[in-house]
């Protein structure tokens, strides 16, 4: 049982640890996935500022005619989908107003319709209204000599994040020369940019692991995906600022009209193949461990039962051998002693008679034991050897008492025989019935101890005759009554010898005669064995069958 429990425990621990390991691996993968997504996001969101604005400034494009910016802007539109528009303005010579460069395929609402008529991906236009809103704000930063002008502004009904590179004609940044910036519609980014980016990042990472990505805004609203990290779902979260520039640019002196929201990128490994494999492995291992434990437990239980039964049988057999040996040897050694005495010639006629009687008693005892052994072998093997006939109980009782007479007399038994004269004959095998009664009388004598009292009584009860053999001997403990009819069983109080076969033979003979056997006993007061046998006129089915064979 311990090994079964240990097996189950080891199986359980193995499963739990394997699942924990799989969850750890999945969580680490999710963490790596989240880190990759954040890296891709931040690099992409800063790309327009770092790559487009800086290169234009480095190549001197901001100081050149607007047409020279067309190709870098067309390229930027293809590379960074969050860009809605660029704008530039040159101070020298003082041009009319800032120039706007918008996407041909995603024109903003504030662009006039006639500007759409071209195939080139960048539409160049000027918009006085927009310029009058935008320029004064940028000029504040120009006046302060800033390198970048970054702020949020609502223009034409759309909220934009605006990132502008400011150029100066002098190193002290006192004479502004040009501005070049871009606008990002925060609404469009929320609705399209993150969704597309997550899908593209997942496609690039595809095949390595099944990681689900999600993006949640500062209010906890889902922007992309619906997955959440819970106790059952391994995953990881990383925060990122919703800015389309390098936050270091404004870290020292953040503008009051710029709101930097903190969003979260979430990666979950709910569908990680390692987890799925660990799950199915865990189920298989647990099922196997359970089955093996059950089989082992059943095997152990059966082995224990077999061992117990074997040990009990061996004990009973050993007891039987020793009891039978004792029973056989005692009368033989007694007879030997008697005959040695007789042979010595030192006996008188009187003592010779006494020794002769003793010899007869011992021979009878030996004969009864041999009869019992033979009878047991006979009736257990050949049950149909009975010859049923009407038998008067009186005859059987007389014969039995005659047989035990020397014993009864010798030990001074008080004998009571109560057999009504009108007792009907029973259907029985006379020899078997005699053997049965002999055994009952023998038991009564053997276990009588101090009180030598024996009663044999019979009465009719409907279609049966009840024969009772009673003594006032040591009695049988209540718990053993049920077992005394088993072969080789000898009671715990028994130390009077005996083969342990007597009541087993009685029980078998009674059953073969379609009768019943009831034993009533009180320890210290005595025992009554009641045998019920059918009367001869009403033969039972079993007896009839037996007599026909």
């Amino acid at each position: 049982m311990l090994s079964a429990a240990a097996l189950l425990w080891i199986g359980y621990r193995a499963v739990v640890e394997r699942e924990q390991a799989a969850t750890l691996v999945a969580t680490r993968r999710a963490g790596e996935g989240a880190a990759l997504l954040i890296a891709a996001l931040t690099r992409d969101m800063r790309g327009a500022q770092q790559m487009v604005l800086s290169s234009a400034d480095r190549d001197g494009l901001t100081a050149r005619p607007p047409v020279d910016l067309l190709h870098p802007i067309a390229s930027a539109f293809a590379r960074y989908p969050y860009l809605d528009a660029f704008f530039s303005w040159r101070d020298v010579p003082a041009e009319e107003s800032p120039v706007f460069y918008t996407r041909a395929e995603r024109a903003p609402v504030w662009l006039s319709a006639q500007d759409h008529q071209q195939l080139f991906p960048v539409i160049v236009s000027s918009n006085g209204t927009m310029a009058s809103r935008l320029l004064p704000r940028v000029q504040q930063d120009l006046a302060e000599g800033r390198r970048f002008s970054i702020f949020d502004m609502e223009l034409g009904g759309t909220r934009y994040q605006i990132v502008t590179l400011l150029s100066y004609a002098d190193t002290l940044r006192e004479r502004p020369s040009a501005i070049f910036g871009f606008m990002v519609s925060l609404q469009w980014a929320r609705e399209h940019y993150f969704k597309d980016l997550v899908a593209q990042a997942a496609r690039i990472e595809a095949g390595e692991s099944a990681i689900d990505f999600a993006i949640v805004d500062q209010a906890g609203q889902s922007v992309v995906g619906v997955t959440r990290v819970t106790a059952n779902v391994p995953g990881a979260e990383r925060r990122f600022p919703l800015v389309f520039f390098d936050p270091v640019t404004v870290a020292a002196d953040p503008p009051s009209d710029l709101s930097i929201a903190s969003w979260r990128a979430i990666a979950t490994a709910q569908h990680d193949p390692t987890l799925a494999a660990a799950d199915s492995g865990a189920r298989r291992t647990l099922a196997l461990a359970t089955v093996m434990t059950l089989v082992l437990t059943a095997g152990v239980w059966l082995s224990l039962q077999a061992a117990r039964t074997g040990a009990r049988l061996a004990d009973m057999r050993a007891d039987f051998i020793s009891a039978v040996t004792h029973e056989l040897k005692t009368p033989i050694s007694n007879m030997r002693a008697i005959h040695e005495t007789l042979a010595s010639g030192r006996t008188t006629l009187e003592t010779s008679r006494e020794y002769g009687a003793m010899g007869i008693r011992e021979a009878t005892r030996l004969s009864r034991l041999v009869d019992n052994l033979l009878a047991y072998a006979r009736i257990t093997d050949v049950a149909d050897a009975y010859s049923f006939e009407p038998v008067m109980l009186e005859t059987v009782v007389d014969r039995s008492l005659q047989e035990f007479e020397p014993h009864l007399t010798h030990e001074g038994f008080e004998l009571h025989v109560e057999l009504p004269e009108d007792l009907p004959p029973v259907k029985a095998d006379p020899t078997a019935l005699g053997l049965m009664l002999n055994n009952l009388v023998d038991n009564a004598i053997r276990y009588s101890r101090g009180t030598h009292w024996l009663q044999i009584a019979a009465h009719r009860e409907n279609a049966t005759v009840v024969l009772e053999v009673s003594d006032r001997g040591m009695g049988i403990p209540e718990g053993e009554i049920e077992r005394v009819t088993r072969k080789f069983f000898r009671g715990s109080l028994s130390n009077a010898g005996g083969s342990g076969l007597g009541l087993a033979i009685v029980d078998r003979i009674v059953a073969d005669h379609s009768g019943t056997l009831v034993i009533r006993s009180i320890v210290g007061q005595g025992t009554t064995v009641a045998v019920t046998l059918p009367v001869a006129a009403e033969t039972s089915g079993r007896a009839r069958r037996a007599s026909q064979t």
Partner: protein, 117 residues
């Protein structure tokens, strides 16, 4: 070209306000600077007009096919530039700036290239 120059022809720079006007009306026209010694007797860099090389396809071509074609083309550029001298001057960062709208398959390629940098 070299033969023509040898016979007396000479190269003139194209620049100035008319060029700016032309470019404003036709954004795909670019100012190109021909490097020194490309042609016989050419001892200085001179400005002229140029247009991009563009691979054109029908709009209804399958997106994944165009994606695969674009990817193959860019993978082959290092080898092709050894064969075709003009490809040496190609600026891959400006490659997405096509004078006509990008096909969805090509747009996807450029976007993924950007994310995979």
């Amino acid at each position: 070209m070299t033969a023509v120059i040898r016979e007396g022809a000479y190269i003139i720079p194209i620049e100035g306000p008319p060029v700016e006007k032309l470019r404003r009306e036709n954004p795909f026209v670019r100012v190109v600077r021909v490097p020194r010694d490309i042609y016989a007797g050419q001892d200085r860099i001179f400005p002229t007009l140029g247009i991009d090389m563009v691979v054109v396809c029908r709009e209804d071509l399958d997106e994944s096919l165009v994606y695969a074609l674009t990817a193959q083309l860019f993978e082959a550029f290092p080898r092709l530039s050894g064969v075709e001298a003009n490809l040496r001057f190609l600026n891959l960062d400006e490659a997405p700036a096509t004078p006509i709208p990008l096909h969805a398959g090509a747009a996807r390629y450029f976007r993924e290239r950007e994310l995979s940098r």
